[in-house]
């Protein structure tokens, strides 16, 4: 027993010497990090608002959710994928041709995730904003408006890409996220949720903000108009447009009128200004992603959503993606009145240098498309050559241009192998607001009111040739652009004109595919496009759009599996 007693004594001695303060001893505070609670001060909530803005442009070449070029342009027949053959980022090739797209393409999953990061940052800020009182944070309501604006933006992108997505707001605790299905809300209810965020933003945001990067009331009105315009085209479960909601269209008109009446915005006198660094936050920019460089961050906060899209000449380097299609180039042809050739534009190709002189074209062609022997990006002596192309045999001779900057531009940032710039990326351009209004008016069967708007857009295009000059001062191409006259301007004609005008005005700006789906014409339009284009471009030989399926990307299989089968796949996949 002596032994036992001794050992008991020893254990208690040890316990006394070091045991009583274990709790304190083992409480090691994290280094270099803050806890959730520490972020609930007014100053830190402001920072969480900034972190949400920051996610607007946190992009990567594999899933460019800022520019949306693979989803909005490549899927729409306005551009080919480009790059080094069809296997170079083959996911984009599958998007382009539809046939081989799959539910388990990793890029689609990453796209989904990146956008939900934006939503989670917005919800983080909103959750904290809800708890702080307005005395401690006088601008609480404004910041809430901004966060709901940004959340609306992120959900809008998910909606146009995936149709049915889980809707999660700041009131749902993280533990319950896994119980929110992507089909808990109907298609229409989801639109309404997105619209609600913008309505809140309209009600709470000031007319102008002291910092140029913040969303203001007009931006919210504009985005609400866009949302309602999309919602107005009522879609069936298999993505067919079954009717157009006149009340929503009327609201689109009201909202766009409010933006116009604010007097803060106008069209740049030269279309080019929209695509130059000097145009950042100019009169046509309603809301834009603010990129920056030489800003104290390691590599700059630059535009990664277009990082693959520079030509392959020595001044740039890489990577030759996003090549305009022959069909798009042909669409810029004009007739004797300077009007688009709705039915016949694709009967012959604009391709040889002489074609751009013997035909007449809309000047926006040379703002949008890099063409061999034409000056690139408004620099008369910087001539686009076929040697700048990556894979001419597969993808032809054109390169995109709007998103790029000249090598000498102060915003240009080389981050080899990819290229970038700190030029803003515009989310809402005033021209878009005008054409939403025109579209709503036409669908409300008030085409006469839409005519001056469409002509206003065309007038500006007509005036935008000052930068489209060769070294001799001559126009690069043979421009002729005219305005529509009232004579033939009935609803059907106006609809056709409006849709064509959007194509020319916003070519390669990430919008076209979503326009086609909104109008309910994607399947017919694209299969017609493929029929002809595949005779010119071998990489399209298997391309086919499946109606009722390809209007939307599939819900990523990973997410369906991670949701343990709660998420429902989109129809047809």
């Amino acid at each position: 027993m002596k032994i036992l007693k001794t050992s008991a004594l020893a254990i208690s001695l040890l316990a006394l010497s070091s045991g009583c303060n274990d709790k304190e001893f083992l409480n090691v505070q994290p280094t270099g990090a803050l806890s959730d609670d520490q972020l609930n001060t007014a100053a830190n909530i402001e920072k969480q608002v900034i972190a949400t803005y920051s996610q607007l442009g946190n992009d990567v070449y594999r899933a460019p959710y800022t520019s949306l070029w693979p989803y909005g342009n490549v899927r729409a027949g306005d551009a080919y994928k480009g790059g080094n053959g069809t296997a170079d980022v083959d996911a984009f090739h599958f998007y382009e041709t539809f046939t081989f797209n799959r539910v388990d393409v990793g890029n689609t999953d990453e796209l989904w995730f990146l956008i939900y990061i934006g939503i989670s940052r917005a919800n983080d800020a909103l959750r904290r904003l809800e708890t702080i009182n307005a005395t401690a944070m006088p601008n609480k309501a404004i910041r809430q408006g901004e966060m709901r604006f940004l959340r609306g933006h992120f959900y809008f992108m998910l909606k146009e890409l995936f149709k049915r997505v889980p809707y999660i707001d700041e009131t749902i605790p993280t533990e319950q996220y896994a119980s929110v299905s992507n089909v808990a809300l109907s298609n229409d209810e989801l639109w309404t949720k997105i619209a609600d965020d913008f309505r809140f933003a309209v009600a709470n945001l000031p007319d102008t903000q002291p910092e140029i990067g913040r969303a203001n009331k007009s931006a919210a009105q504009a985005y609400l108009a866009k949302t309602l315009l999309f919602q107005a085209y009522v879609q069936s479960d298999n993505n067919a447009v079954t009717s157009v909601d006149q009340a929503k269209l009327q609201e689109v008109v009201t909202l766009t009128n409010q933006v116009i009446a604010s007097g803060k915005y106008s069209l740049h006198s030269d279309f080019a200004t929209n695509f130059l660094t000097a145009g950042d936050n100019g009169v046509e920019s309603v809301f834009a992603i603010q990129f920056s460089r030489n800003d104290g961050t390691p590599k700059g906060r630059t535009d990664r959503g277009n990082a693959l899209n520079y030509p392959m000449n020595p001044d740039y380097g890489c990577c030759g993606f996003h090549q305009p299609s022959q069909n798009l180039v042909n669409a810029f042809k004009t007739d004797a009145q300077g009007l688009p050739q709705f039915e016949t534009f694709n009967n012959s190709d604009l391709s040889a240098p002489a074609d751009f002189q013997t035909n007449t074209v809309d000047p926006r062609l040379d703002h949008s498309v890099g063409i061999p022997s034409h000056p690139y990006k408004y620099s008369p002596s910087f001539i686009f050559e076929t040697s700048w192309l990556r894979d001419q045999n597969t993808y032809g001779v054109y390169m995109s241009m709007k998103e790029n900057v000249l090598p000498s531009d102060p915003s240009f940032q080389k981050t080899p192998p990819f290229m970038s710039s700190s030029k803003n990326w515009t989310i809402i351009r005033y021209a878009d607001v005008l054409l939403w209004k025109a579209e709503a008016l036409i669908e409300l069967n008030r085409p006469a009111e839409a005519l001056p708007i469409v002509n206003q857009i065309r007038q500006r295009a007509q005036n935008s040739t000052a930068r489209l000059k060769t070294t001799t001062g001559a126009n690069i191409s043979n421009y002729r652009i005219g305005q529509y006259s009232a004579g033939v301007w009935n609803q059907a004609y106006a609809r056709q004109a409006l849709r064509f005008e959007r194509r020319l005005e916003f070519a390669l700006e990430g919008q076209r595919f979503f326009d086609l789906v909104r109008w309910g014409i994607a399947a017919d339009y694209l299969n017609t496009y493929f029929e002809k284009e595949k005779t010119k471009r071998q990489h399209l030989k298997d391309a086919r759009f499946t109606r009722g399926r390809d209007e939307y990307l599939p819900i990523p299989l990973n997410q369906i599996n991670f949701s343990k089968g709660l998420y429902q796949q989109n129809p047809g996949w």
């Binding site: 001893f25 994290p30 959730d36 920056s292 906060r301």
Partner: protein
């Protein structure tokens, strides 16, 4: 810091008692910082101080810490060297776990019975020079996770260092639109889990050691069951959770069971020839025995009707490749498979619903060999010695990652192509099992499938060495202790299955094969 007391008691020769109790505190703190510049006019070390660099001023720093508090006691007892017993109890606390779960208690006990000391063995089985039965049971704790694993963490990040290939995780934004004074927020990097606690492994061993013929023949047989519970895992999460959804949790249980056999014989003949033979063979089975709903996604399967439960932790989930489509008729008659075409891999429609999809995957290998074995041979005679070591793995179906490179031109785009592609399927080479050449992976043939599963069994001559030691009489004359010359080869040959298409079945992860090494040596001891 450690403190302990030790008590010994020798109760009259036969009883041996030994008791140790102690406590230990470990406090770990690590801090690092760096500063750098580039563009030094001279690279001379006497010149290249930071102030002399002209560009790219950069610096950084970080810190991390953890603490462990432990109490332990051990009690050893032996009676007449025949009966042996040992009991250990530990109580360990780790700063990595949730506040109320930092401590875990881990007992262990073992007993031994040296049968060969018992008279009834000495009398009835005198050929046993040694015979001992062993049994052990014990628990150990695992805290091998991130230092602040239970905490919710937020960090600021101005911008990602590699903006090309990673998505940017930055939190700074040019809200003023002037490229300067970017404010920055915080992003979540980890979710809190105050319930996080120790992972516990319980192991039970039964064994017997034996020696025969004056210990010329020795060996042992062991059986073990090892069960890990509350396994720590960083949980993959639904994308809707957003960034920093990472969360360490306790979840699954995994069981390992196995046998180990060891037998050796060593002898010296009258003529001075010594030799020894030692062989070992071991086998184990691994199985996930418990899988709570919360952690299903951490262990593969489809999250729905197929989980890893009941399968090995090494098991691979994927499609069953069923040869190549030979012609258009086969393609049109086969189940719907995106990208199917002549010369392309045909995947099995396991559930027979007419399409190849998510629900046609299964566990395509358990990734556990039938057994591992080794054989050591040694002999010595008049200064010459030879040693041979053979080692092998039998019955392992492994995932041959090299096949991505050797069999496809479209998957590892931009890399050199493998020689096997010369024999790829074509309409005139229909006997080939290698898919047709393509630059575009429309059939998604990089997907996990049995196409990559190969028999990775092997037997390797790990080591063979021949040596000669100069006679001691000769060596001592030149005032040396010993001189030995030898030649040696490692991995001289490998016997592998014909089915295995890579260079080395031991290296299935597309890294360098284990090299063959030849060595000659001279050992001189003074």
């Amino acid at each position: 810091m450690a403190e302990y007391v030790e008590l010994r008691h020798d109760a009259g020769g036969k009883h041996q008692l030994n008791f140790v109790a102690g406590t230990e505190r470990i406090s770990y703190y690590d801090e690092s910082s760096y500063a750098s510049r580039t563009n030094f006019a001279s690279e001379d070390p006497t010149y290249a101080y930071l102030d002399a660099g002209a560009a790219n001023k950069d610096n950084g720093g970080s810190g991390t810490a953890y603490k462990l508090a432990s109490y332990f006691s051990k009690f050893n007892y032996s009676l007449a060297d025949k009966y042996l017993a040992s009991v250990t109890i530990r109580r360990d606390g780790s700063s990595r776990f949730g506040e109320d779960n930092r401590f875990g208690v881990f007992p262990a006990a073992s007993v031994g019975w040296r049968l060969s000391e018992e008279n009834f063995v000495k009398n009835t089985a005198p050929f046993f020079s040694d015979l001992k039965l062993r049994a052990g049971w014990g628990q150990t704790g695992n805290q091998d996770i991130a230092n602040f694993a239970s905490r919710g963490l937020y960090q600021s990040l101005l911008g990602t260092l590699d903006p090309n290939f990673e998505y940017d995780r930055g939190t700074a934004y040019d809200i003023f639109g002037n490229d300067t004074n970017l404010p920055s927020g915080y992003r979540r990097v980890q979710q809190a889990n105050p319930d996080l606690k120790w992972e516990t492994t319980t192991q039970t061993n039964l064994g017997v050691d034996f020696g025969l013929l004056d210990n010329r023949l020795t060996g042992s047989v062991d059986y073990f069951i090892k069960k890990s519970e509350d396994i720590l895992v960083n949980l993959p999460y639904l994308a809707v959770v957003g960034e920093g959804g990472d969360k360490f949790v306790n979840g699954a249980s995994i069981e390992n069971k196995g046998w180990e056999f060891l037998v050796g014989y060593q002898n010296e003949l009258a003529n001075g020839l010594t030799y020894s033979v030692t062989g070992n063979l071991s086998t184990y089975r691994n199985k996930l025995t418990f899988l709570p709903d919360e952690v299903i996604n951490a262990y593969g399967g489809n999250g729905q009707d197929v989980t890893r439960l009941g399968h090995s932790i090494n098991a691979v989930y994927g499609y069953v490749a069923d040869g190549l489509y030979q012609n258009a008729t086969e393609v049109s008659e086969g189940p719907t498979q995106v990208g199917a075409a002549p010369g392309r891999i045909r995947y099995k429609d396991l559930n027979g619903d007419g399409k190849v999809d998510n629900f046609d995957q299964t566990w395509i290998t358990e990734g556990v060999p039938d057994f591992n074995y080794g054989l050591n041979l040694g002999a010595g005679y008049k200064g010459f010695d030879v040693q041979v070591f053979l080692q092998g793995v039998q019955g392992l179906e492994a995932y041959n990652n090299a096949k991505f490179r050797t069999d496809f031109a479209s998957i590892a785009s931009g890399e050199n192509w493998g020689e096997r592609l010369l024999d790829a399927w074509s309409p005139t080479n229909t006997g080939s099992s290698i898919p047709a050449l393509t630059l575009q992976n429309s059939n998604n043939e990089g997907r996990a499938s049995t196409y990559f599963i190969e028999n990775a069994s092997y037997l390797k001559l790990r080591n063979i060495q021949l040596g000669y030691s100069l006679p001691a009489t000769l060596v001592s004359k030149i005032k040396l202790q010993g001189v030995r010359v030898y030649v040696q080869s490692q991995n001289l040959f490998t016997v592998k299955s014909k089915e295995y298409t890579g260079p080395d079945p031991e290296v299935t992860n597309y890294q360098y094969p284990v090299p063959r090494i030849f060595t000659t040596g001279l050992n001189v001891s003074f």
